[in-house]
Symmetry: C2
Subunit: 199 residues, 2 copies
Amino acid sequence: MPQPPHNRQSTSAELRATALEQFASVGFAGTSLQQIADAAGYSKSSVLYHFASKEALLDEVLTPAVNRLEAILERFLATEESALTRSRFVNDFIDFILEFRLELHTFINQSQSLRGIPVIDRAGVVIVRLSDTLCHGDASTEDRIRFGIALGGAAYTLVAGMTFLGEEIAPVEEVRPALLTVITELLAPVTVRTAPSRK
Amino acid sequence: MPQPPHNRQSTSAELRATALEQFASVGFAGTSLQQIADAAGYSKSSVLYHFASKEALLDEVLTPAVNRLEAILERFLATEESALTRSRFVNDFIDFILEFRLELHTFINQSQSLRGIPVIDRAGVVIVRLSDTLCHGDASTEDRIRFGIALGGAAYTLVAGMTFLGEEIAPVEEVRPALLTVITELLAPVTVRTAPSRK
DNA sequence: ACAAGCTCTGACCGATCGGTCAGGTACCGT
DNA sequence: ACGGTACCTGACCGATCGGTCAGAGCTTGT
C-alpha cells in the first residue's frame, strides 16, 4: 500500500483546517470524524492518531483564536482608556475577525450547545469580559445589543453571508475598510460615551 | 399503560416547539429525534408518527417564519419606496425578528449546510431578495455588510447573545426600542442614502 | 542489516442514528 | 356491544457514530 511522503508536521495542520471548515459550516455535533477524514484525504483512524478525541480536535482548532482574542483584550485593559487606544482596539478586533472568522463563527454560534468543553468556556469568558469592558459595566440594554450585533453580525457576514449574499467573497482590501466603518459606528456610542459617564 | 388525554392538536405543536429549540441551539444535524422526543416527553416513534421524517419536521418548523418574511418583503415591494414605507418595513422586520428569533437563528446559521432542503432554499431566496431590495442592486460592499451584520447580528444577539452576554433576557419592551435604534442606524445609509451622521 | 519509531490504516466494538412496523389503548359513531 | 380511527409505543432494522487496537510501510540510528 503506497504511502505518499507526507510532510511531517503538515498532516495535523491539514486536519485542523479541514475540521475547522466542517465545524463552522455543519456544526461540531453535525460533523463526523469520517467526514473530516474523507475531506482531508485520510482515514478516520489517522484523525484519531493525531488527536486524542473529537473534542481534543475542537480544542486544538479553536485555542489559537481564543488566545489571540484574550491577548487583544489584555492589551486593551493594560492601557489607559483613550480615543487612541479604543481605535487601536477596534483595529485589532477587526484584524482578529478577518483572520479567525471561521473560529469566531464556530464558537459564536455553538457556545451554548458546547458548554462544558474547556476551550468553549474559555471563549465564553473572554467574550463576556469583552462585553463588560466595552459597556463599562452599566448594563444599558442598547449598548449590550450594539456589542452583540457587532460580534454576531461580523461572524455571520464573513462566513455565511458573504457566500450567499454577495455571491463571491469580496477581496479583503475591500471588506476591511467597510467592516471598520460599520463596526466603529456600532461600537462608538458604547465605548466613547462622549463625556460624563463613569470611569 | 395510562394514556393521558392529550389535547388533539397540541402534541404536534409541542413537538414543533421542542424541535425548534433544539435545532436552534444544537443545530439540525446535531439534534436527534430521540433528544426531541425525550425533551417533549414522548417516544421517538411518536415524533415520526406526527412528522414523516426529521426533514419534514424541520420544514414544518421553519415554514411559518419563511412565509411571514416573504409577506413582509412583498408588502414592501408592493408600495412606492418612501421614508414612510421604509420605516414601516423596518418595523415589520423587527417584529418578525422578535417573534421568530429561533427560526431566524436556525436558517441564518445553517442555510449553508442544509442547502437542498426546500424550506431552507426558500428562506435563502427570500434573504437574497431582501438584500438586493435594500441595496438597490448596486452592490456596494459596505451596504452588503451593513445588511449582513444587521441580519446575522440580530439573530445572534436575540438567541445566543442575550443568554450569556446579558445574563437574563431583558424584557421585550426594553429590547424592541433598542433594536429599532440600532437596526435603523445600520440600515439607514443603505436605504435612505442621505442621512449624513448620527445624533 | 537490523531494530526502533513515526505515520497511517482496516477491522472491529458498543452505542446511537433515522426510520419501519405491528400492536396496544382510548375514544368515536353506530 | 362493536368496528373504525387516532394516538402512542417497544421492538427491530441497516447504517453510522466516536473510539480501540494490532499491525503495515517508511524512515532513521547504529
